[in-house]
């Protein structure tokens, strides 16, 4: 018996328009719970002065695009920060939990957006999948969930975290 491996190509005509591939993994509250379970949070947003911005840029070599930083103080010590980065193909919101000593506790991607072709919403194309595998019970979603393909680098996040660590040193550390 041969394997069930079947490739269903998209019609070329469907490759024109583009839309977004987007996943929301966590909202703010869920991200807080994921990084600091059973803690409470006090909002403590920071508006950077131009002097602070320059100091952060100098310390980490990464540009500060947003002068306002969404920060929460964590009960019992530590910080929870929500930040955004923009890449060539992606726009990402992520959360970073910092320990009391300013070290990174955990990073969670909250929102991930990439641009893709519009054909994904084409119902006729999707209909091709129905019944392809007899034992399948999964309903075919109209969104892209899993992509196999080239690695999109997380360099922008790495730079973002570097910037947040400099932000901690300059604007949060007491």
């Amino acid at each position: 018996m041969k394997s069930e491996f079947v490739f269903i190509a998209l019609p070329a005509s469907a490759l024109i328009a583009s839309s977004a591939f987007a996943v929301q993994y966590l909202n703010v509250e869920q991200a807080q719970k994921a990084i600091f379970p059973s803690k409470s949070f006090t909002a403590a947003p920071v508006k950077l002065t131009s002097v602070q911005r320059k100091a952060i840029e100098q310390a980490c070599g990464v540009r500060v695009l947003n002068g306002e930083q969404r920060v929460w103080r964590v009960s019992g010590g530590g910080w929870f920060i929500v930040d955004e980065v923009v890449g060539k193909h992606e726009f990402i919101t992520y959360a970073v939990g910092l320990n009391t000593d300013g070290s990174v506790k955990q990073i969670e991607i909250m929102d991930y957006r990439e641009t893709y072709g519009d054909q994904i919403r084409d119902q006729k194309w999707h209909a091709q999948f129905v019944g392809k595998t007899s034992k399948s019970t999964l309903k075919l979603d109209s969104d892209i969930k899993n992509i196999s393909g080239a690695t999109l680098s997380c360099r922008h996040i790495t730079d973002g975290v570097k910037r947040l660590l400099a932000f901690y040193e300059i604007a949060l550390k007491q």
Binding site: F5, S18, A34, Y112, I147, S148, G149
Partner: protein
Amino acid sequence: MRSRSSSEIRRCRPLLGTFVEIAASGTNPADLERGIAAAFASVEKVHRLMSYHDPRSDLSRLNREAFPKSVIVHPWTWRVLEAAQQFARESDGIFDITMARLLASRGYLPRCEYRPHNAATWRDIFLRKNCRIFFRRPMIVDLGGIAKGFAVDRAVEALKDNGVVAGIVNAGGDLRTFGHASQVIHVRHPAEPTRIAGAVRLRDRAMATSGIYFERRKHRRNYVGPLLDGRSGRFGQELISVSVAAAECIVADALTKIVFSLREKAAGLLAHYHADALLLERDGTPSWMFRSSCDTRARTPFD
């Protein structure tokens, strides 16, 4: 199978230089949370051991010290090196982790302070007993994709160990599904990475795709990518992509690189691993497909 109370948790973290997404479904949310935490811990462990960029990793220690005297590595690092050597043997050197020096010379990897030998190949790596590794020549190795595949396999193992019955782990395009239901996997367009060329269905199986789209760079008027043939040292130029499905993600990842060079001539090796392959041309159409015979006792490097 989706029962009334079944739910899914999907999380994503930046690891292994890419985005690692883990989804788990089941009926007990506490099991899912625990499983996902354990799965990410496994990926983080692979990241710590096999990162090319972290000077404290096993891999950096090997590159620094395995020539002239041997180095003892973690059993996981040893297993990945063992698999890499097996693929090198079976592909007659197309798959060769010592080609990292060429990647470094073209800027795909940071340069090292020490000078690798120009003629070093996989044959200069020696795996000794008790996780001891020796390099016969100074060289640099990079476990890149194959470590990613290994991390995906360990993450799936961690999910299963924690009672998760179905899920998917996707490390920047190297992925593996498990559980009763099949999953739709979209494949990127080989020439336009922001587009989708099509999709396959996958059940209880891993898949990896290699192409040069995102990392193409201009070199002497041609665009080349970080995929190279270890026998000739030539970089990939064609805007094709190769997807391979296999029981284990480490196998799927390694085989994509071999099929990229060998194309149809890789059929024997694919059959040997009970793997499926799909070759997409630059216009996004499939030019070759290989379907393995269905054997659940698929061979793995760790038999």
